[in-house]
Symmetry: C2
Subunit: 198 residues, 2 copies
């Protein structure tokens, strides 16, 4: 009952009733995230998402209203940046590189960053989300470490790494182990912040 099409899900007392719809709702979202991450926004169809989720295409429309609103739901992303307040300045570049490598590689089921990068290049809404993540999550986490220009260029480096390694799959980059990438790329990130790391 609760959770109708236009309702928020605040049913008050019917706690069990919502779970059923929330199950398919989550399945749809997971399938959408996979499709968007793997094939981009334009090539992702409602029909394919429904097939992956094992339900009827009409259900996708019922739960999310439109492809754009489904996409918006898929764009809700938390970078889960590490707490760097107690890390020595010189160690921060290495920590960042390894954190992002672990974020990309350690959780195969988490397509959030892949989705963001793949779609932001051809979809303005996704690009806006990337810019928002930078000001809402990256800048606050690194604001005490560097100025906004260097934070922006740091994102250039990290997104560029993800681009060549996971999307374009350039062999010279994709065939390296994560440790090799960390060892080679950390000095490059450090160079952005000066020899001392700040």
């Amino acid at each position: 009952m609760t959770t109708q099409t236009g309702n928020d899900g605040r049913g008050g007392r019917e706690d069990r009733a919502v779970r059923r719809s929330d199950g398919t709702r989550a399945a749809i979202l997971a399938a959408a995230r996979y499709r968007f991450a793997e094939h981009g926004y334009e090539r992702t169809t409602i029909r394919a998402v429904a097939a992956d989720a094992g339900i009827d295409p009409a259900m996708v429309m019922r739960y999310y209203g439109s492809k754009d609103r489904l996409f918006d739901a898929a764009l809700a992303i938390d970078l889960r940046l590490p707490d760097l307040r107690d890390v020595p300045r010189a160690d921060i570049p290495g920590r960042l590189v390894r954190h992002f490598l672990a974020r990309w590689e350690g959780e195969p089921t988490d397509d959030a960053l892949l989705l963001l990068l793949r779609c932001a290049v051809t979809n303005e809404r996704a690009a806006e989300r990337v810019r928002g993540l930078l000001t809402e999550q990256v800048a606050p986490a690194l604001g005490a470490f560097a100025d906004e220009r260097r934070i922006g260029l740091l994102c250039s480096q990290l997104l560029g790494l993800a681009l060549t390694r996971y999307l374009l799959r350039v062999p010279a980059v994709a065939d390296l182990t994560a440790d090799e990438v960390a060892d080679l790329y950390t000095p490059a990130v450090s160079g952005l912040f000066g020899r001392d790391g700040g």
Copy 2:
């Protein structure tokens, strides 16, 4: 170069007759490059390309056969890398950064690199072209300067810069002047090759 529709271009004597068709042929290709660069592969339609070129959509099909073959023609790209053989090793990172900035910004009509980056993320054929450019043009130009792993990661840095500055338009990066970018990003590239630049 004669170049009829299904012919190979070895026409022999009709030199003047072909020029007319080569004109519209070039107009189609220029319009296609602009559309692919600006909107990506999927959102680019034959109709829009034809409208930009001021001709009928059927002409695009006549000259290029299909959207894919038109795309292939648009992917013929020369990076025009500078000759670095006489450049001191320590100066190479700065030269590379400034060359790419000039390449992206100095020639507004040249959408080749923008096209490549925008389309490679969602189109495997374009991604394959990027990988080809790396082995055919970048690696030979830099092979004496660094190993293949660092060349790959250098491309990560340069493509990442283009991604945030020209495609995602992250303000912290896009609002900088080209000189600011060169000054800030060159040390980062140098860091990839060690303090001495090699």
